[in-house]
Amino acid sequence: MNAVTPDSGLHYVEDFTRNKASLPGRQQPWVVALREAAMRRFLAMGFPTRHDEDWKYTSVAPIERGRFLLSSGQPRAVDKPQVDAQALPGVHLLVFVDGHHVPTLSKVDALPAGVSIASLATLLERRRSGIETQFEAAASYPSAFAALNAACMTDGACVHLAKGVRLDAPIHLLFLSVTYGLAAHTRSLVFAEEDSHAVIVEHHAALGTPVYFTNTVTDIVLGRRAQIEHHKLQQESVRAFHIAAITADLAEQSRLISTSFALGAALARTDIVAKLNGEGAECSLDGLYVADSRQHIDHHTRIDHNVPRGTSRELYKGVLDDASRAVFNGKVIVHPDAQRSDAAQTNRNLLLSEHAEIDTKPQLEIWADDVKCCHAATVGQLDAGQIFYLRSRGLDEETARALLTYGFAAEMVQRIEHPELRQRLDGLLRGRLPQQLEAEVLS
């Protein structure tokens, strides 16, 4: 059990009580009941502490102390050009400001029949929207943050893909934070029915460098042979706190491509859980974290091979400079029935400073006997031989180091198929190097 301090999270309970009457769905009994139950669950759990095994290396005390406030009213007006600068070209764009969908900033083009993209707030106001069952299924909250999110959720995206429908343009969910001191509890749901395809970009960014708290949850349900790409891009303000949970349920022969690019925030924690529930399901979890100054970036992933013949691939890379710190914890669990599972997990880290720190823990638990599983974790520095090679060709040491750092991380960018997203990520990566590199560097 968690060691709960008497007032752990009390501020958040009080804030919820003050504001619950203005949260979406207040007239729907199921929503009200859900929120109250979730809040009780949160109160029972309390914020995790370093005594919790899953939070051993990440202290969320600043979030508790931060006393961030629910943003229950209208979001602040934001200039459209500032939003457009963040938007990817050629996408269906849904913009959320401080946790609220802003239709005037969004742009959803004509959608093919069978695709619906709606704001969660709208659906919560409806008597029957079809999302209740999903909430029931997710009611056993894996963490206090997920419970807090269910209690306080203000908005998010609900994407439904009917059987066989293929959405070519990505759906870009842009969560912008603009206001000091607010907590944004957003929740998104993706239902991909049989044989449907879609690409979803979950993008968290800020205007300016406010201090705030993002607490976001995304559930993805993949039907048979469905294919979903979910790309998470975390570019929060360097003073922000970011907690995210992503859960994916995979039916037979479905395929999930998940990426997590974590570049921003003072403290960021992302939990990704993929459940291979149908035979022949496949998931690929990629991630790149780039941290400097005193940033702290934590990824916990868990892949459950619940049935036979599942395939999982995972590659996370990290670049850590200054006194930054990162945590990677990757669990792969092959359950007793999951014969002929094929799992491979790799975590590679590049430390650019002697003060940077990585805690990496790959965990394989195998309960079936006919499986192919491997994992590897490495922590290293830039290679002196490579630096010399570049310098012997005329590059100064700083450029050589920047180029090699880029080369290490670029693999994660290269694996992105969508050209505009790849280009954006490449630019962001180059922007994080000690020295600017030009655009054509990517091989």
């Binding site: 290679d383 002196a384 031989g385 490579q386 010399f388 090679y389 570049l390 310098r391 012997s392 060709r393 005329g394 590059l395 100064d396 040491e397 450029t399 180029l403 090699l404 880029y406 080369g407 290490f408 991380a409 670029a410 693999e411 290269q414 030009e438 054509e440 560097v441 990517l442 091989s443």
Partner: protein
């Protein structure tokens, strides 16, 4: 152009070069031959400025400057080029980008204007044509997944593009089949110029059938033990290096 005088170099506490002297004039091709462990690669690395090579005695003067004072990138800009025995892979970095960055970095250091993408591409095409190379290597990451031969071709391509004044080829011929060897030799021959000098370090005489040197030196036990014309290479091919042991014992017994 290059004057090495009584060079002593230690690597990891062990003396590898023990009083090497060599003078190379512009326009000349010098071959350095010798058995494994003689210090051939050490010579290339110390001239290019690799870390971990401690010069304990002697001097290296390049175009009137103390070469050992310069950083590796300064040596490159000054026109010193080392073709690596084992070219390094740089994953994730496009070869074309790397070459342009390298060339422009050198030009900037020399106070010359940088080349833009179009100018660079034009130069690349010229050099590819001279070397009879295909451009497929350009679109891949630097040396990543290249075969041994491709890596060496890439070294020669860099040599052609960067147009150094002093090129040191460190066993560029090792591990090459005859076609790759000829390509390397053609590249070097195409680059021969009254203003440019080559130091070709090799274990075998094979390359010297195609790149005919002006001078051949035998490096053994950390110093040049014999120098001569191209005929010396053929003599070594016949005799092997066994006779050097006697010389080494003599050298070892010296003051």
């Amino acid at each position: 152009m290059l004057k090495i005088d009584n060079l002593h170099v230690r690597v990891a506490g062990k003396e590898i070069l023990k009083g090497l002297s060599l003078e190379v004039k512009a326009g000349e091709v010098h071959a350095i031959m010798g058995p494994n462990g003689a210090g051939k690669s050490t010579l290339g690395n110390v001239l290019a400025g690799r870390e971990g090579y401690e010069v304990t005695q002697g001097s290296v003067v390049y175009e009137g400057r103390d070469l050992l004072e310069l950083e590796p990138e300064e040596r490159a800009a000054a026109g010193v080029f080392l073709a690596f025995q084992y070219p390094v892979e740089i994953p994730g970095v496009n070869n074309t980008y790397f070459l342009r960055t390298a060339l422009n970095a050198q030009r900037r250091q020399r106070g010359e204007p940088e080349l833009d993408s179009m100018q660079f591409l034009k130069l690349v095409r010229e050099k590819l044509a001279v070397l009879h190379l295909k451009d497929e290597l350009l679109h891949r990451a630097v040396n990543e997944g290249f075969s041994g031969g491709e890596k060496k071709r890439n070294e020669i391509f860099q040599l052609a593009l960067l147009e150094p004044k002093l090129a040191i080829l460190d066993e560029t011929d090792s591990g090459l089949d005859i076609d790759a060897l000829k390509m390397v030799a053609d590249g070097v021959n195409a680059m021969r110029d009254p203003q440019r000098a080559f130091v070709v370090v090799t274990h075998y005489q094979r390359l010297l059938d195609y790149v005919v040197p002006d001078r051949v030196h035998v490096l053994a036990h950390g110093r040049i033990v014999r120098s001569g014309g191209p005929e010396l290479a053929r003599e070594l091919e016949r005799q092997g290096y066994a006779w050097l042991d006697a010389v080494g014992q003599q050298a070892g017994a010296g003051p």
